[in-house]
Symmetry: C2
Subunit: 187 residues, 2 copies
């Protein structure tokens, strides 16, 4: 579609690079309109959202050949680390930080693909357990290898920036109520 673009900028079907950073322009606009005090937070949050979009698209591109989306991959990865490869759906919802309906949706599709199986909880009839099938475990392992190699190994962030991001987001998420434990002091 694009004359250039795909070879150089493989993130989606968007056009060539813009001559200016649109988020920096938005920041300047905020400052000009008298909102100096929030111009930088606005820019940081907007840039975060755009960065998330780019990274998500990279992951989806890698996972597509496996027939997986990032949401489904996250579910498989979570299960692959669970004791007995089994997890209650409400537990998955809490750990993945998504709505229960999103878990239902993902499990429906994964089950349809033969990658997970639903089981009844032995004592609590309300609860449904999810377990990886052998096929699901193998696919998760293969997909992880590719994600590691194609997305995480060359993330676009320096090692130093990665440590910084982990620190900043960890603090943010704790204050937002995601979790309550204290982090182990960095060595």
């Amino acid at each position: 579609m694009d004359k250039l673009g795909h070879e150089f900028y493989p993130e989606g079907t968007l056009s060539q690079p813009l001559p200016r950073d649109p988020i920096l322009e938005a920041q300047r606009n905020w400052e000009r309109h008298g909102w100096q005090d929030v111009a930088e937070p606005m820019a940081a949050i907007t840039a975060l959202m755009r960065t998330q979009q780019i990274l998500l698209q990279r992951a989806e591109t890698v996972l597509k050949p496996f027939g997986l989306t990032f949401a489904r991959y996250e579910m498989l990865a979570l299960l692959s680390f669970a004791r007995d490869g089994e997890l209650a759906m409400n537990r998955a919802s809490a750990l993945l930080q998504v709505h229960a309906t999103s878990v239902t949706n993902a499990v429906d599709r994964l089950e349809g693909a033969g990658l997970v199986a639903r089981t009844k909880h032995p004592t609590d009839k309300r609860t449904t357990l999810i377990a990886l099938t052998r096929q699901g475990r193998e696919l998760a392992a293969a997909a992880t290898v590719e994600l590691n190699a194609q997305v995480f190994a060359d993330s676009g962030f320096s090692d130093r920036d990665i440590s910084t991001l982990i620190r900043i987001f960890s603090k943010f998420r704790r204050e937002a109520g995601d979790f309550s434990a204290d982090e182990p002091a960095p060595k």
Copy 2:
């Protein structure tokens, strides 16, 4: 719904804080499985995605009383800074970094709400211009006041961290091909 939760952790219908950080646990799992070299990038990217989700939900909560979503708000804000309050749809697509179909979708709804109007481009018949209505301009201004006060003014990041995030994401996005200009050297 939750016994506790909403007053203290207003981000969605998720349950109480977890005792442990699930992303840190994932990082430990990666390390245990021999992927030490990508465990930190994985954790940083996963945390970024979760942080984006939290911030997006905060923005949506603030915008809901205005009948706006974040995507529609971004379109209104962009138009409010455009020369003559008018912008070609393909330009909006480039500046907002979303697919043309997403712009069509947003403009359909904004037009239905009387907030923007489509106009024909004077010379290029392929192109459609979008313009704010008076109502749209007023709503954008009011929504911005609330977003500034309720999301950006107390973002959950320190001033220092905000500067750091802007720097890291700016570099990342430039290298990802979002834009090509050099940043003005920080004063």
